[in-house]
Symmetry: C2
Subunit: 337 residues, 2 copies
DNA sequence: AACGTTCTTGTAAACGTTTACGAAACTTCA
DNA sequence: TGAAGTTTCGTAAACGTTTACAAGAACGTT
């Protein structure tokens, strides 16, 4: 096997007594005489030859790499998505380059710029906040991009989105079915895309259920994190006594549950609780948490295959996929008989 | 900015009326006359020129990429480590290529082989099982490697390891301090490196505390996962009634806690509980879980800086770093007054 | 036996950089 | 002013592949 320092085409060629072109052809399965093919393959395996990815990339103009930029790596839903994407991308013969950008759109713009160096063939991006300048950067980019999340309708970029509004409807409907009259909402920052969408969904769902929207039952955490959730839940419970709470993601739900426990309020006996994203966190916790599944796994898969498809066919029509939500009912939302 | 399809050195050179060598020199900060430097920079920025990473890699023989292979992406401790590594690597000007291998050593060997294609300058690897052939592959590899985990002493490869034995001692000591007499152990698979080490630590710690080791208080989950933990905890509780339980990681601890809850056994009132790895899971759960911090964050950081150091100086002495554990005490292990 | 096909393989250019080398231009000093 | 020293910059080679092109070999046909 590998013995000398590195083994290149010319080394194999010398060893097999042929030209480098012939070696390249044989190893790529192009036609050759049986005799030389055997000689080349023998030499190659003796020398432990493996083609150099960089040289091949330079020649071919492709890197076989896909970049992934997720904003919030602390959130289990993004971890789950990343795993899916990693799998899909690897299966398609690409490598995954993970660029952990911050929440800041500017970080993501910087990333897009750096991609012009050509170290990846395409990008999957999941922005929390979508600004004017991010959209400009997206449109200016030379590389195929798939966005996980919502974009304005006039932007011609492949995207895969969740339907938060429908998800909220599922949650509120379920709570109403369980007899809830006063459904509170612990949201994340309202200037993020998911935050805004979930608020819209909440209001619409209340209306649909004919529930009044009291001013005291809605709080916004500073962030979609556990710590921010603790603060927000405190604030909510200080001013209000709902009989059900829906949280904008599972981390906020867990934080809310902890806060409730600290006050001796039991879930689901005293208050019903629903999270969103349906991450493993919801299943692990005790009691387990009912959660709106916004299709993160399917969105991730879809994003990967969309990008891979576009790499094959750059002129394909722009795709705008929406994944329908489902509700995974667990212990936290089922009123005791 | 970027207008034409792509912009190369020759384009900039033509635009500035100089040779490509000059452009390259100016852009790399090598000496040049003020006049031409200005002209080149003007042309470059007008054309939105960015050097091509692939071409540069080919010439330089470096990719500026570091590969990371973690076995178990479902485990929050690996996620945390990955985030650390991602940050450290990015700060040092490298990109991170994540190769999600399975638990199988063969997968990791395949990965090492594929790295001979030269798409990364170094590897960080965290194997769950260390086999003979994995070690051979590690030693045969042309690339610098840092292993997160324990290797046999005669293997000359940089590694960063946890001290599970000391960690177990901390846990058992603390439980004894809280008055526990009968400390059970929910371990993971015993043929993994961490599983074996934690068992050794457990036995040593019991001995040290002068506790008898009853045959009925130790179970091995099939895996370091939540599901496997549920099964293992069932088995444990069916045959034994310990007054304290230490679990080989936080996922197993959470599973154990859920199983206890299902049987109406309260934590910490009826039984004390300790996890390991000190992931955010331990903090999120209710009650929060005391956990042995095996220094995952520090190990990850150390691994990254070790690799980066070796890339700078390939002849540096082999490093074998061990991180000391600490105990993060939370609600689950503190007996009510 | 001469010719036309088809197979096989080598030569050379190309991908976009960096850099050793040497030529030209400019500076300095006697 | 001319020689020596110093800058500045262009030419060309190199990194390791892939591939268009053409030349040569092998074959079949008349």
């Amino acid at each position: 096997m590998a013995e000398g320092r590195k083994s290149t085409l010319v080394l194999v060629a010398e060893h097999a007594g042929v030209s480098i072109a012939t070696v390249s052809r044989v190893l790529n399965g192009l036609p050759a005489s049986q005799k030389t093919a055997d000689a080349v393959r023998a030499a190659a395996s003796e020398l432990g030859y493996v083609p150099d990815a960089t040289a091949r990339s330079l020649k071919a103009g492709k890197t076989e790499q896909i970049a992934l930029a997720v904003a919030d790596v602390g959130n289990p839903v993004y971890v789950a998505m990343m795993n899916q994407i990693s799998r899909a991308v690897t299966d398609a013969g690409y490598r995954l380059v993970t660029s952990s950008t911050g929440n800041d759109p500017d970080d993501q713009i910087a990333l897009l710029d750096s991609l012009n160096r050509g170290y990846a063939d395409g990008v999957i991006l999941s922005p929390l906040r979508v600004t004017e300048s991010l959209i400009n950067a997206l449109q200016a980019s030379r590389l195929p991009i798939v966005v996980i999340g919502s974009l304005p309708d006039n932007v011609e970029i492949d995207s895969v989105r969740a339907d938060s509004v429908a998800g909220m409807a599922l949650a509120v409907q379920h709570l109403a079915d369980q007899g809830a009259k006063r459904v509170a909402f612990v949201n994340g920052p309202i200037d993020t895309v998911p935050g805004a969408a979930r608020l819209r969904g909440y209001l619409a769902a209340l209306e649909e259920q004919g529930m009044s929207m009291n001013a005291d039952v809605q709080v916004n955490a500073d962030d979609f994190t556990f710590e921010a959730g603790l603060v927000a839940a405190q604030a909510l419970l200080d001013q209000s006594t709902p009989d059900a709470i829906v949280c904008a993601n599972d981390l906020l739900a867990i934080a809310t549950m902890k806060t409730l426990a600290k006050r001796g309020i039991r879930v689901p006996q005293d208050v019903l609780l629903i999270g969103m994203d349906d991450t493993e966190l919801a299943e692990l916790s005790t009691p387990s948490i009912t959660s709106v599944n916004l299709g993160s796994v399917r969105r991730a898969k879809e994003a990967a295959s969309l990008l891979i498809g576009r790499l094959k066919d750059p002129d394909a029509q722009v795709a705008r996929v929406t994944i329908d939500p489902t509700l995974t009912i667990r212990e936290s939302s089922v009123a005791p008989a």
